[in-house]
Amino acid sequence: MVGLGGILLLFLVLPFVALLLDGGPDSILRGLGCALTWPALRLSLGTSLISVALVVLGGTPLAWWLARSRWRSARWLEILLQLPVVIPPAVGGIALLLAFGRRGLFGETLERLGWTPAFSSVAVVMAQIFVSAPFYMQAAVQAFGRLDRNLLAVGRSLGASPPRLFFQVALPLARPWLIGGAAMTWARALGEFGATLMFAGNMTGKTQTLPLAIYTALELDIHTAQALSLLLVAFAFALLLFLRRFNRTVEIGRRPAAS
């Protein structure tokens, strides 16, 4: 048993070792200097942050409603919202194309309104939102669902209007989980590849995010791909460190009551 565990551990760690060490620092620095890097980094950061902002803005009220709804269809809606997590991103890309692509279900209507989202930077954001929103939604629905119902009841009995209850009680109490969910959403959006490739394409400076740049670089020079990969690993690692520290401060702030 211990041997099998050790093999798994090695299998999981060795690729990172190779990613970090192969070729040495010079070739990695050279790779970072590649013409693909800067536009892809800028596009990745820009689009992923916009995606997270939009997911949080729309997802928070939706989650609040879902968590409190006694409507039966709300439970089905919750399941439906989790679907993008378990389907392959490529399927998501096809679905987006069929819905909003030029010949898609709503594509013609959108085109008549003068808007063709497919194969643009907007499509990058749409693909990211599609695949990453469930992470935030799940965290937010759970956070709101876990709130002490008595607190909400007391808040209302004190005369709090629904908006006041939401902003002054529910939101502050759910905040740690909302931030955790947003962080996971950002990580997923930053790493999004399949749906982006299908729905937005792979155009430098326009739709070529870091993961797509890695794919392109692989055909030119593996060390460029390696350098870009390390960039993404660095972001992911920083995110994990942030979440760990953040969770610890949350726990300290929530020491159980004295009596």
Partner: protein, 266 residues
């Protein structure tokens, strides 16, 4: 604070509660009413119904002349407009706010458009009145059970309620805090003079806090009357065991445990 206090809370509610129908009619005057009954007899549901947090099939709830709910006249005031002070068993203090901020929250919900600073000083005045000035800046997790109960009551009173609803006010406290809180509540309830409904499992709560008792059994009021009468002729086996009086004639000799809820927080 405001106009003359309401002297009467009238409750007639009917709601489907899983295993049975809740069908309760209660009149609460100036004498506090204790609601007793076995676990799952619908005591807390009665409180939730009064608060407007339980879907009712039928009924009428009125505070003096003010109708809170009337199915026939399709009146159903939302909870936030009912002006009821609700103290749940664990007191319901907002854990992310200090004692003073908890009270200020209630003030901010009120009709007065006071500034944040004014609310803060009003909150301090409420805390002082309840002997809590020294803990104003602490969070609920840093306070004793007795202090939390007082803050919850101070906060509830800051919202100028017209009636008081207490759900097992001493159940989550240790024995000593229980004595302290009971004495404090008895005095507060008397001086506030609001119609008060108290759900409890504890005969000492009933004796210290209530003048009248309603015995609930499977969603129905088996009897309602002065404490002395209920004690003398308990309507149900539960009541006879709660008050250690002789069992009612014809009661089941072996009814199972009195109630398991009494110990659920120890």
């Amino acid at each position: 604070m405001t106009a003359a206090p309401v002297r009467r809370l009238s409750v007639a509610v009917e709601a489907a509660l899983g295993p049975f129908l809740l069908q309760a009619t209660l009149e609460v005057g100036t004498e506090p009413l204790a609601l007793v009954g076995p676990n799952g007899s619908g005591k807390t549901s009665v409180l939730l119904a009064i608060l407007g947090l339980l879907k009712l099939e039928r009924g009428r709830i009125a505070l003096g002349d003010e109708i809170l709910f009337d199915r026939d006249r399709t009146i159903d005031r939302p909870t936030e407009e009912r002006h009821l002070a609700y103290l749940p068993q664990d007191f319901g203090l907002f854990p992310h706010l200090t004692a003073a901020q908890n009270v200020a929250f209630a003030l901010a919900c009120g009709p007065d458009l006071a500034s944040r600073k004014q609310r803060r000083s009003q909150a301090m005045a409420w805390l002082d009145r309840f002997g809590l000035g020294s803990v104003a800046n602490r969070n609920p997790s840093q306070l004793s059970g007795g202090e939390r109960q007082r803050i919850a009551l101070a906060r509830a009173m800051a919202s100028s309620p017209k009636a008081l609803l207490l759900d097992e006010p001493t159940a989550s406290l240790d024995v000593e805090a229980r004595l302290e809180v009971r004495a404090f509540l008895a005095e507060s309830i008397r001086s506030l003079g609001l119609p008060t409904v108290l759900v409890t499992h504890d005969v000492m709560d009933v004796e210290a806090l209530a003048g009248r008792v309603a015995v609930l059994e499977k969603g129905r009021v088996a009897a309602c009357g002065p404490l002395g009468d209920i004690r003398k002729t308990p309507p149900t086996l539960f009541a006879s065991r709660l008050f250690s009086s002789p069992a009612p004639v014809g009661a089941d000799a072996n009814p199972g445990p009195l109630n398991d809820g009494q110990f659920r927080h120890n």
